[in-house]
């Protein structure tokens, strides 16, 4: 069992959870993730390591409640435990001094982009961050992002805060302003990452995206996390999750992630029902 040290909501449905995992805290690099199992009957779910404290032996996860597993995890409080956690998994982000690097996060993708933004800054890049959310209440890690950025932008779809519009529009604006951009990292919903790839393609700006296929073991054994990159099968849990945005077959990823839609709904409904019953007694 792995103990939760602290757990606080950053925004509605998005929780920051610090868990005891000394080996992982010591080893993890930006861009890597863990697989967790909340309970003995739980599924294995991949979550990016947002931060770690090697001294304390803890790692931080930022989790958006999507379906059964993530909601169950977000229901946990400090002092409770989860069954399993393994990592750090995946190939760390490729970090070097590119020059000007733009880190773009959409929704909970901001949390996934954060550690890499930190590493890009430490490597001496001029770091620009663009973080998008649907509206003001859903903006996360604003201060943290500001602290590692030379320029930090927030965008909201409804204009309730920061730039009114999508992260793609903000990126286009930066490019149009004549800024020389050497590297873009985009993490968020698949349509967002696909759109970013199309923004940077004409300018041939090196662009990486962090893919989120469904994973099972996460250790390179089952082949379930396969994605198509440059017309080849690649395994996101060991060769990724970051890949060249201009070569990713996004459509295939969107399709494959729909594989268990009815089952996921069933799981979430049963879980919601159980919670409801628990509240009643």
């Amino acid at each position: 069992m792995y103990k939760i040290v602290s757990a606080i909501f950053l925004a509605e449905n998005i929780k920051k959870i610090e868990i005891e995992a000394p080996r992982i805290a010591k080893k993890r690099k930006a861009g890597q993730f863990v697989m967790i199992r909340v309970s003995k009957t739980g599924e294995r779910v991949p979550l990016t390591i947002a931060d770690s404290d090697p001294e304390k032996g803890t790692i931080t996860l930022i989790v958006q409640g999507m379906g059964k597993s993530t909601r169950e995890l977000n229901g946990k409080e400090a002092g409770e435990s989860i069954s399993d956690i393994v990592g750090p998994l995946g190939t760390p982000s490729h970090i070097e001094k590119f020059g000007t690097a733009v880190s773009i996060g959409g929704g909970v993708g901001t949390a996934i982009a954060y550690p890499t933004a930190v590493a890009l800054k430490e490597a001496g890049n001029y770091v620009i961050t663009i973080n998008g959310a649907r509206s003001k209440e859903l903006v996360i890690l604003e201060d943290e992002m500001k602290a590692v950025s030379d320029e930090a932008y927030i965008t909201t779809d409804d204009g309730s805060y920061g730039f009114h519009g999508f992260v793609t529009q903000k990126l286009q604006e930066l490019i149009d302003s004549g800024k020389k951009i050497d590297y873009v990292l985009a993490i968020g919903p698949i349509p967002m990452m696909r759109a970013i790839a199309e923004v940077t393609r004409p300018y041939q700006i090196k662009t990486m995206v962090s893919l989120n296929p469904i994973m099972i073991d996460g250790t390179g054994m089952c082949g379930g996390c396969r994605v198509t990159v440059d017309n080849e099968i690649r395994f996101a849990c060991v060769e990724g999750p970051e890949f060249d945005a201009h070569k990713v077959d996004f459509k295939n990823l969107v399709d494959r992630n729909k594989l268990y839609l009815p089952e996921e709904q069933q799981s979430a409904e049963t879980f919601a029902h159980k919670c409801h019953l628990n509240k009643q007694v």
């Binding site: 080996r23 009957t41 393994v86 099972i216 250790t219 082949g223 099968i233």
Partner: protein, 479 residues
């Protein structure tokens, strides 16, 4: 009959004792074990068939040279616990090997009776004594030598790692097994299904090792959570054994392989066996709902057989096994092939898929196959299948399971570059000691041989344990 006074003629007159099994009609609706095991009477009758050869050639067929004639004699005389001890001198997992060894290619193939009669059912007997010892609560903990003060890291808890840990702990070393998954046992737990190898048996073996003092650490990926260099240099281990098994599944590289409903056998079996998705939604991990659907597996090995028989048990209407050679060339255990046929698995031999076909929503709807015929023998000595021109046809299917083998897991290679690997990324070892090119690091099992067998993995683990002991202690254990 009395085992001591029976004549050779009488022995030869006894027919091979059939092991009782669940009725096929029944078993396709459950995951319980197919075979029910010998009773003591059946085991003794079978044991009496062994003519106790002066030169027991069966032993040469066993990769770990179990003293087959001796343990069978003990069974015939009713000394089942003695037989178990005898086997365990060479094989620590008789209940498992008795069930999963390809006996017809190993010990039983060599048995002298095979030529004129049927071979002695060595595997069934081995299974019987292993089960007897466990079920009667008579498993004795082996004697553990006084502590040597040495610490050894075993990476991976499959049969290679478990057998290596077993020998090392008995020799007095401290042993820690690191396993990537949340569950111990490797393929024995997440690959081979319950109906062929009950998980209780694997768990009991692991419990036994825990009692001997082996420490198990799950959720730890060597190379990522901790590197081999860190184990040796920072964590004070004197040697390491790598038994991480095979790696990523191969795909066929044909159009449509990423359609929804196309699985690798590893993924399908992992979802069902490790994550228990047959019990969804009690367990959270879902799997394709096979009920009333047409499912096809591509391949002819044990894995293919396990996958399609699992799909059948999950309710598949049609369960096809599509293989590009003929039945005679199938690498699966003979018994599994027979069981599969009895369970209504539809064998489609000499056929190769060329394309998966999907609908607008990208769900699989069918597979285009081409018929094959057997040509000249290839490198493996098997006749090479060649496509028959214009013989393509479309088979409607809802789910496809690809089972054509695995590559090697790249993690160790990436994170420990001073371990030499082959072109296929398998680890290169000295087969007498299982030593790798890196000092104090040994390896064995599928990561060395490519996908092979449980008994070979176990044998490798034991060879390595002996070599590690000799190296660390500066002694020689007589063979």
């Amino acid at each position: 009959m009395d085992a001591k006074h029976i004549t050779k003629k009488e022995r030869l007159a006894i027919p091979r004792q059939v092991m009782p099994a669940q009725d096929p009609e029944l078993r396709i609706h459950n995951f319980r074990e197919v075979h029910l095991g010998y009773t003591p009477e059946l085991a003794q009758a079978e044991a009496m068939r062994c003519i106790q050869c002066k030169d027991p050639v069966c032993i040469q067929g066993c990769p770990v040279n179990i003293k087959i004639d001796q343990f069978i004699k003990m069974i015939a005389e009713g000394d089942f616990l003695g037989a178990a001890k005898k086997i365990k001198e060479d094989n620590v997992l008789p209940s498992i090997c008795g069930r999963v060894c390809p006996q017809e290619d190993q010990c039983e193939k060599m048995c002298i009776l095979t030529k004129k009669y049927e071979s002695v059912a060595i595997g069934n007997l081995e299974r019987f004594v292993g089960d007897y010892e466990r079920e009667t609560g008579n498993v004795e903990l082996p004697h553990v030598q006084p502590s040597t003060g040495k610490k050894i890291a075993v990476i991976g808890s499959g049969p290679a790692g478990l057998s290596c840990a077993n020998d090392l702990i008995q020799l007095g070393h401290a042993v820690t097994v690191f396993e990537a998954l949340h569950e111990l046992g490797g393929v024995l737990m997440y690959g081979i299904p319950e109906f062929r190898l009950p998980k209780e048996i694997v768990k009991a073996e692991i419990e036994g090792l825990k009692k001997l003092g082996v420490e198990f650490v799950t959720n730890t990926v060597a190379g990522r959570s901790v590197t081999i260099d860190e184990l040796l240099k920072e964590e004070g281990f004197d040697a390491a054994f790598i038994g991480v098994g095979a790696g990523l599944p191969w795909f066929m590289g044909i159009p449509g392989e990423n359609l929804l409903g196309v699985y690798s056998a590893n993924e399908f079996l992992t979802r069902v066996n490790l994550m228990k998705s047959y019990d969804f939604p009690y367990f959270d991990t879902p799997v394709f709902n096979c009920k009333g659907k047409n499912v096809a597996v591509f391949g002819g090995g044990n894995t293919a057989m396990d996958a399609i028989r699992t799909a059948k048990r999950l309710g598949a209407e049609h369960a096809y096994l599509i293989y590009r050679r003929s039945e005679a060339e199938m690498p699966a255990r003979e018994e599994e092939i027979h069981h599969a046929q009895k369970e209504g698995i539809e064998f489609m031999m000499l056929m190769n898929p060329v394309e998966f076909i999907g609908n607008e929503q990208q769900w699989l709807t069918g597979v285009k196959c081409i018929r094959m015929e057997l040509g000249e023998p290839d490198d493996s000595g098997r006749r090479k299948p060649v496509p028959v021109k214009n013989s393509e046809f479309i088979l409607p299917i809802d789910m496809a399971i690809i089972s054509i083998g695995n590559g090697s897991n790249p993690l160790i290679k990436q994170t420990t570059p001073d371990i030499e690997v082959s072109k296929r990324d398998t680890i290169i070892v000295d087969i007498n000691t299982m030593a790798t090119s890196k000092e104090d690091v040994y390896a064995g099992g599928d990561i060395v041989t490519g996908g092979a067998t449980v008994i070979l993995a176990m044998g490798a683990g034991r060879t390595a344990a002996k070599a590690i002991h000799e190296k660390l202690m500066g002694v020689t254990i007589p063979a």
